[in-house]
Symmetry: C2
Subunit: 150 residues, 2 copies
DNA sequence: TTGACTGCAAACGATTTGCAATTGC
DNA sequence: GCAATTGCAAATCGTTTGCAGTCAA
């Protein structure tokens, strides 16, 4: 279900990120690459605050508002997505292959899963009257094994 | 896609609400019934603030914090649900039949739709290793007809 | 060099809280 | 009458913003 990137995949994705930034007219700053790299390294949908804490050891001077600003900028350029939870803090992830979310109601941890069968399935007919569809994501709520006890 | 309640359905649902409150040991206050009634009357997933504005004509003294507190209380008792959007303000709805959400990226309006085919479908096998599933909801992002232009 | 980006501090908006008065049971 | 609930005001939390200095191109 989870998918840690290999060293090569990480390098390659970082290269693509740099290219995408340049194409978008965004400057490739140390802060931006580090933020993106950490999103890839620990793809557990961290909040801006958590991400900031993770960045401090390698970038002691980075400020929380830069993290916020960068995530917002990258989101606007489709490189990062802000995910929908019922919590107060927003959570972020690097954009990649279509996937869905399992959210534990207790620990609030978000885990990705794939469900190709759904991705292929067409929405009900009457939805097409509503408008133009961009994405569909399944959000599953429950209690994870860890929280359930054993 | 949308489903306004008939007068009888509204009455009946309100009765069930009162019963559920009593069963949960919650006092049936005027504020609580009005909040719940308005969620049923205009099932457009209002934010606490919008709901508060709607309540003011009939309950001029109701405060915004009571609306927040009540929604949180009712949510804890499973009578209301807080829905997941990528916005800063939370949105709420009365709990009822399983349904899914269409969210317009421009106007942020949330519309319900049914998709029984999905409700029946089992999740991928490996998800069962994750834990106990409570609910699954599809969140569809796109641009509604109204915003798209014609 | 120069405009985009950053860090700082202060502002902001959404939501929560402590407390005294009020109300349902 | 008593505990739960409310309204008020103030506090809190997450996030955004103005500004002056800094850095990638």
């Amino acid at each position: 279900m989870a998918k840690p990137l290999t060293k090569e995949q990480l390098e390659q994705t970082m290269q693509q990120f740099v290219t995408a930034c340049k194409q978008a007219g965004l400057k490739v700053t140390h802060q931006r690459t580090e933020i993106y790299r950490h999103l890839l390294l620990e793809p557990d949908h961290p909040s801006a605050e958590i991400l900031h804490k993770r960045l401090l050891p390698s970038l002691p001077s980075i400020s929380l508002d830069t993290v916020y600003r960068t995530l917002t900028t990258l989101e606007q350029h489709g490189l990062v997505s802000r995910i929908q939870t019922a919590e107060s803090q927003a959570r972020f992830e690097a954009v990649y292959a279509p996937h869905h979310h399992l959210i534990c109601s207790r620990c609030k941890r978000v885990v990705d899963f794939q469900w190709p069968a759904i991705d292929r399935l067409d929405l009900p007919a009457d939805v097409s009257n509503w408008g133009q569809i961009d994405s569909k994501t399944i959000v599953v709520y429950g209690t994870c094994m860890h929280c359930a006890g054993h």
